[in-house]
Symmetry: C2
Subunit: 601 residues, 2 copies
């Protein structure tokens, strides 16, 4: 066995070890001590009164009833005055890809008491390649809290960016913050094992974790997938789905975040009485507005308590249970000597509100105020130049030629069934001058996916029903699981204008109407992150959502509805630059019922 | 992160993965299936009725109520007929050094239902170097069950073999079966951090586990030690010691084996009501007679149930809890798709008696009969030639010159307080012709430690009280934590004869009286393993124990009492070729109260 995960993060130096030993023995004063606390011992399940925690550098040196022996004049002492100290919270599955810089996102994550994240890498990799992925990983490194990463499994409906290249996997796997491979959607793995298994097996061979995504899977298909070594899933939406996965040895992360909020329903697992040691909570991402207005993982833990989980279990679901799943429990997830000094003082075990947050031995927040700012990373050229088109788009690029001469033609189309789920529909559309027209008055508009990196400009234009868009166009360069810009429009001129604006901005979310840009947010980092403060981004996104609603679109988070149209795990009909893809069979198809879909641009 | 633990053991091939997926999906018949079983689900804590387990090659493909879909004509089907299936048992801490070959030891381990061991490597390394250690690791590889290893921390009271060389550690750490570094005794680490910390920190840097040994440690010293990253201990002998360690995030292994049997007392931990998820059981080694007569880890699990542990907890203590501690829970420790097919069918959850044992997908034992034999390893020259002396010993080699001229002289001596624990005593001994005499009639005999490898022939001779040895000599080359032969005798001629016989045998346990060998067992592998069948070894050891008892020694396991005299973790006065060592301060001293001990040969 060679170096393993988190070498840099874990490497305790000989000096540190010696200081730590001396502090524990009372020979050297602690750098920091929390005294007079109720200590939540996640290992035993006890709440121990009158405890102290002594810290040497980044590490916990001592916990117990006699912290005074390790306290000297230089020791910073926090008197918890009977409040409760818990381990720093760990989000086991998140995406730092909502349209803010990591340094902006972290401001709100940190002050709530989250001190470790396990972050997906699937967003930067397809749009900026291995250089961009490394740049992203470096943006997450050397922050006041620890960010571990999972390598992108790169499930995509587009053949162009399917599966991480093994050479790239090896580069990322050797990095110290890498703990495994990120979510691989089950259907794709079963439908195309030859594409995805090599990376999963290589990760497994290295003893790293394989994160799962089993939305909707059950019985044999679920087992065929988990048998590959998948040991987590954050997708259950019913208590019985939680139970089925737990029985298969899968660590289930109950999701409560920007994409879905499942905790209230999933608290039904309590009725089964099963052991919760392999149950965690995660956010799976939190939208900027929610993050700024409400907070991060601390809200999820509070909600778990409010939904009926015992406070000890709720806290373990965001600490020890997560650490154990990732095989990081020797480093994080509990308060004990030799673990990172990641500590949160809260009023009491039922009230998850951070009064002090200690991360890597430093007090990073106090009473909701951030004391140490996250580091702002200077992103490299590979990350900042990700919108590649061979030329500016024109309205005619979105023309769809009819294969037949009649006045109407039958086409395959997407229909929004919910704000995220789509179905495949056949629609009879009018043909004028050989071109098939959308019909906004009947709630049918055009939807196009344009590759911005691998085959720049390659475009597939289809039709979508259920957006209720009456006019204008919306384009966004943050389309999921792909290298695409996604644009929906009642009008081809507006579609071209919106995409061209994204090209000029090198990434953005743009609303056009009447041939001009109505609202926009620039997303120049990877085409999905803004350089602005998170509060500004949240406000802009809210304003843009209002404008889109004024265009007729009724969905609660219109941007999410658009970017997920390319997503490889949201049922059922999806779109990419190669055509439509029905996730039931994974096959790519074109606009016409008997068409393969290739060449539709 | 590069390759991690158990690369060879875990490497699932693409073919295997494809077969596994196909078997789960019902497209390819399982190789083996167990049907009509109550399945003990260690993940949820449930016992699920009417379950089947389908196996493809080495791996579990499916578990659930519908195994038939994966069963074909070629599938071997075991009808459990309502019996109970549990995961293969895992011994988290054992020494495969009792005087039998691994292939002999495994015969009895396997048929009881143990399918994974984590074995120490501290015995072969000092006496046969890195070549011997690798040879030993290879003897443990490619067996019908999985044997993971921990690298030797090499705590020794002798300066000559203290601490594993970092170059050797790196060689072992890169091996696929290595999961961590073995037990490092806490006193030594705190007394000599400069010797032991580099290896502990290098192991920690690699993300591997650091096994602990905290006998007698408490509060600050215990914390100073565990702060180095130590995450297990198998040494508690009182329930409150278990609790203190659990609170520090230490995985406590309750020991029930050849050295001590602590389970009955430690079951007192149940009264505290603390969570048992980080509690395991282990044997720490089992003597041949016990192994042959009673069995192995299955007896420990049974005893845990008999002592009041809930059967589910008892089984977890030898499966999931152990696997999680070693970060091997994605591979072993539970019955789920993608885990190794390690399964034991038992009558019911309260009766731990293996009716079928499946390991790596093969039925290795049925109703107490072994179906697949362990592999007998051909040990290499480095392992077979480990007794190095510059010349044959003579009686005069054990003479002890008096530093003074009087008829009596005061010396430091060991006194046996129990069969294992010693104390330091001052004794006034007679001097004749300038030489200090033992006094068997007053229960004082000579005790000598002779280096057999690093400084061949280097000898320290002291005195010991409490053996009750009336005549003759006993020598053994299996002395713990050292490179020494240990010899005790009422007579210097017998001492020399016994040691010379060990030289001739290249390892052994020899009893001499009246100038000739009375009983012996040859231990030619590393000087501590016999080539004979385990039943023969058990019988010989019993016979030798009887002979030693006839010589006056009353201890239950006299061989154990002798070999532990060099042990670096058994209080308090120990002996090695450099002199006496008092473990309270770790200092080496000589025969006379103000003597440094060096040069006493």
């Amino acid at each position: 066995m060679n170096d393993t995960h988190s070498a840099i993060m874990t490497a305790m130096t000989l000096d540190e070890a010696t200081w730590l030993m001396d502090t524990a023995l009372g020979r050297r004063p602690a750098d920091l001590a929390i005294v007079n606390a109720n200590l939540v011992n996640v290992y035993t399940g006890e709440i121990l009164p009158n405890q102290g925690v002594c810290v040497s550098g980044r590490w916990i040196a001592y916990t117990g009833e006699d912290p005074r022996t390790s306290i000297g004049r230089e020791t910073r002492v926090i008197d918890a005055a009977g409040k409760t100290v818990i381990p720093g919270l760990i989000d086991g599955h998140t995406h730092i890809s909502n349209p803010c810089l990591p340094s902006e996102f972290l401001r709100y994550v940190m002050k709530g008491g989250t001190t470790s994240l396990i972050a997906e890498m699937m967003e930067p990799y397809p749009v900026a390649g291995i250089d961009g992925a490394i740049d992203f990983a470096e943006a997450l490194g050397d922050q006041p809290i620890k960010i571990f990463t999972t390598m992108p499994a790169m499930v995509s409906i587009s053949h162009a960016c399917r599966g991480i290249a093994l050479d790239d996997l090896r580069i990322l796997a050797d990095r110290p913050e890498t703990v495994g491979i990120g979510e691989s959607y089950w259907q794709a793995v079963i439908q195309s094992p030859e594409v995805y298994l090599p990376a999963l097996l290589e990760t497994r061979r290295r003893g790293m974790v394989l994160e799962g995504h089993t939305a909707g899977a059950s019985t044999r298909k679920l087992q065929a997938y988990t048998a590959m070594g998948i040991t987590s899933c954050h997708e259950p939406v019913k208590p019985m789905e939680v139970l089925e996965r737990l029985r298969l040895g899968v660590n289930v992360m109950l999701r409560e975040g920007g994409v879905r909020k499942d905790l209230e329903v999933l608290a039904g697992i309590l009725e089964t009485g099963v052991d919760l040691r392999r149950v965690s909570v995660c956010t799976d991402s939190v939208a900027p507005d929610d993050l700024v207005s409400n907070g991060y993982l601390e809200c999820v833990v509070q909600k778990a308590i409010d939904c009926g989980f015992a406070p000890m279990d709720a806290i373990r679901m965001a600490t020890l249970n997560v650490a154990e799943h990732f095989h990081l429990d020797h480093l994080i997830g509990g308060i004990a000597p030799g673990r990172y000094a990641d500590l949160v003082v809260i009023p009491d075990i039922r009230t998850i509100r951070a009064e002090w947050v200690v991360s890597n031995g430093r007090v990073i927040a106090e009473k909701g105020r951030l004391l140490i700012q996250p580091r702002r990373h200077p992103f490299c050229e590979a990350s900042l130049s990700t919108i590649h088109l061979p030329r500016r788009m024109e309205a005619a690029d979105f023309d769809v030629a009819s294969p037949a001469k009649g006045p109407r033609v039958r086409v395959r189309a997407m229909e929004m069934v919910t704000d995220l789920v789509t179905a495949e529909r056949r629609l009879d559309l009018p043909v004028a001058e050989g071109r098939i027209s959308a019909d906004p008055q009947k709630d049918i508009v055009k939807i196009a996916a344009i590759d911005r990196r691998i085959t720049p400009g390659k475009t597939f234009t289809g039709f979508i029903k259920g957006l209720h868009m009456t006019h204008g166009a919306v384009a966004i360069s943050a389309a999921w699981d792909s290298t695409d810009i996604i644009v929906a429009g009642a009008n081809e001129d507006d579609m071209a204008t919106a995409v061209n604006r994204i090209l000029d901005l090198q990434g953005g979310f743009v609303i056009c109407a009447g041939g001009r840009v109505v609202e926009e947010i620039s997303l120049p980092v990877f085409g999905y992150m803004s350089l602005e403060p998170i509060e500004t981004v949240a406000e802009k996104l809210n304003r843009m959502a209002r404008v889109i609603r004024e265009m007729g679109v009724t969905f609660p988070d219109p941007a999410l509805s658009f970017v997920t149209l390319t997503g490889a795990a949201i049922p059922y009909l999806r779109i990419c630059e190669e055509g439509y893809v029905n996730l039931k069979d994974g096959l790519t198809g074109g606009l016409f019922p008997d068409d393969s879909g290739e060449g539709e641009h």
